[in-house]
Amino acid sequence: MTTAPRRTALDALHRALGATMTDFAGWDMPLRYGSERDEHVAVRTRAGLFDLSHMGEITLTGAQAGQALDHALVGNISALAVGRARYTMICREDGGILDDLIVYRLADEEYMVVANASNAQVVLDALTERAAGFDAVVRDDRENYALIAVQGPASPAILKSVTDADLDGLKYYAGLPGTVAGVPALIARTGYTGEDGFELFVAPGDAEKLWQALTEAGADAGLVPCGLSCRDTLRLEAGMPLYGHELTTATTPFDAGLGRVVKFDKEGDFVGREALAAAAERAESAPPRKLVGLIATGRRVPRAGFSVVAGGEVVGEVTSGAPSPTLGKPIAIAYVDAAHAAPGTEGVSVDIRGTHEPYEVVALPFYKRAR
């Protein structure tokens, strides 16, 4: 059985803007409006506007909502201050990653979990199961939010022009309720681009009004609508993992170099603790492989699944690859045997359709914004 892809509240606008649409995790989403390279550069130098309404919002409320999340996720969620957000993960009992998440603490007894579209149902089911026994209610809020992101160095000024909310007081990884362009919104200073920026959670019925207001407010600053294609190259340059690529049920947070999200010292037990403790130990003493960056010396682009080779042997696998607009060269993230993972390791290539193209091993990220 096939089902038609779902459309966001901004679908008609995307089509009017001439977007090339793509099926992404069951949603019909804008891939790009014009040149994805131009969109990428706009976010790095000015600002970009994204429809991210495919992301899955799940709300937990109740006196033990925080404890339920401490049990269900790998982070110390109940320690979050109201108004702050945290990047975290939900793992299986065997330590495999089910999804990476951002959790916002909206009130003393209210948290919003934002899951990847492709995993939202899995996360909802797991949270529902894991919260049983706690005084907490898990609510599927996917239909109740549209999500619009404005990202890039000009984004604070653009957003300021359409809201009275205290953006200067809003730190990175914080969120506060407010009004933007006359629309009630949860304003979060988060993103997936490596730039300063905001994510605005609003009622679907308000999404068009907000999109139009931001488009007008950003016109002079050079804000452009941006699709998922540049979102991918932006996050890749910023060294941010993408579920299904760097993160899978076959990898633990420690394999992905993100062991810091696992908090063993929190109160109570949590799903995956034992396996994750073993994974932490393994990563420390004898890491099987490491996540590294690769920069091309040539111009052919590595893609997910391509082999990393050295001395005629396969020593790893590319998980994401693309031409980097900022570096002007193809780049990739790859899992590589520990022996070949040190930055500067000689003789590392990527097998690009039968040809071994030389690559430089570097530490992630490829790009870090000046602060």
Partner: protein, 124 residues
Amino acid sequence: MSNPQQLRYSKEHEWLSATEDGVATVGITEFAANALGDVVYAQLPAVGDTVTAGESCGELESTKSVSDLFAPVTGEVVEANQDVVDDPSLVNSAPFEGGWLFKVKITDEPEDLMSADEYTAFAG
């Protein structure tokens, strides 16, 4: 977008110019360029190569994917567009003009090349 009337078109979205002394210019259509997205790398056939209609003779790499470049006719390559090798974005900005890919001395051509109107209907 409009597909120039004086060109002929393949089902793989290449265009072929009218021949002069048996030599025709080959490129990809605007439809194909739009579908690819920003082209970042073009591997073109070399001068002297023999290309065969319907078979891969190079590749075009874009942000999201790599696509084979198919030869619309059979013949010998007499020129490759170095401008496109140096600046692949020409394929996007001027697919029917400065973004041409190679010139071929035709020895054989398939019977299913389309007119502009037929191609426009084909590409939808």
